[in-house]
Symmetry: C2
Subunit: 244 residues, 2 copies
């Protein structure tokens, strides 16, 4: 029997490279490990109705007001002026977020979501929902682009580590012919037994640690602690995990 | 005694990210391991007067004719129509290249050289001139950008490995606060004992191996086999190694 062709799996290490990839035929996984996509899957896992990602603080305030929603977002590690909450997953426990809408703006993650708007499907990925992402991608059997949000277009370690974790788990089901994917998996294999220590040299770790956010970082590196599947539909992320 | 501030050392993993870096105050090291910068340092080590990098085949033919120079360049692994020689370092032994001018066009390396034209200084780096590059950068004590030529703007393993080798050797003399540098060094440390095997999974390895170029690849991964220091001056690369 002839083996059917496997769908391709690629890693886009920064939004600055997204134009090189064919998003229109692909499931794009938006990855912003510290902390946007970790927080998004946490809010949905804890029962939020939806998370609306927006590019600017102004838009966040306007849409939050229109929808009587929670407004959240940070700039330079502080809750942005005019918003109510920050980017920490610990701010969104079930007793607070259940049944509510969260409007969220972040430095990099929401921008990449915007840029990938022509994709066949968009989901978000992070360690807290690692298995949900992997299971969904295998089940869908479509071409995949793991899109790292990076930091102001500069490649970062934490998003590459997550991309590597996904590749390590699902590569047998895909055609992987992409050095960024090879690099991501190598980094993950090297770091997998102690992700926290591996991340200590990263620029973003140092930035967040200055704000006292080690606890957030540990959470954001914990696999499957918030197993939801954020799926973009009508400009909002909803939890699709009940389908898969 | 107060320690003087160390100059910064960064890695730019692809030409698509070069605009994020301040090239004007930096020494930019152009890295195109397979095979442009390996061939350039080889030709200069073997006594070529200079190597003139140009963007197009047409320009290569025109300048080569004007200067009675050797014209060289490939497209898709074959000598480009109208040119005399290819990109292999083995094509440029001393008995052929000594005292001559080589006009060279390549897919990625010459493009990055063009893009970095505003840099304070431009040199080229590859494993065959690794120590020359490291010694020069330490001696100069200026900010450094290790610029990977990549493959049509996509990050590649071989250029990152070389960047990692440089960082591993000289990081004590610099301030390194850049995830791309951290990633490059991690990749190098993982691969250093058998660079050839590490590269076997890379896209470019597979591309060149199809053309039977394993011998070229082994050469291009051999440290210090052609210890020259290509330095850009008046649009030509000359060997500056006698200065340092």
């Amino acid at each position: 029997m002839i083996q059917p062709l496997k769908p391709r799996l690629e890693v886009c290490p920064s939004p600055a490279a997204l134009h090189l990839y064919d998003v229109s035929s692909s499931i794009v996984v938006i990855i912003d490990v510290l902390r946007a996509t970790s927080t998004i899957c946490t809010a949905l896992f804890n029962g939020a109705d939806r998370v609306i990602p927006v590019a600017s603080v102004e838009e966040c305030i306007r849409i939050g007001h229109e929808m009587h929603a929670i407004t959240a977002g940070e700039r330079d590690g502080q809750i942005a002026a005019g918003l109510q909450y920050g980017n920490s997953p610990y701010e969104y426990p079930r007793e607070f977020v259940e049944g509510k809408t969260l409007v969220l703006t972040t430095t990099n993650g929401t921008r990449l979501l915007d840029m990938a708007s022509g994709a066949a499907q968009i989901i978000t990925g992070s360690f807290p929902n690692l298995s949900q992402v992997c299971n969904y991608l295998i089940q869908q059997a479509q071409p995949v682009i793991l899109g790292c949000a990076a930091w102001k277009d500069r490649i970062n370690l934490e998003d590459m580590l997550f991309a590597g974790a996904v590749i390590n788990r699902i590569k047998e089901s895909f055609e992987v012919n992409c050095d960024a994917a090879l690099i991501a998996e190598t980094l993950y294999l090297e770091a997998q037994h102690d992700l926290f220590s591996a991340l200590k040299k990263a620029v973003h770790y140092q930035r967040l640690a200055r704000y006292g956010l080690e606890k957030d970082i540990r959470y954001c590196l914990t696999p499957d602690i918030a197993p939801s599947l954020p799926f973009l539909k009508d400009k909002a992320l909803i939890n699709k995990s009940t389908d898969c």
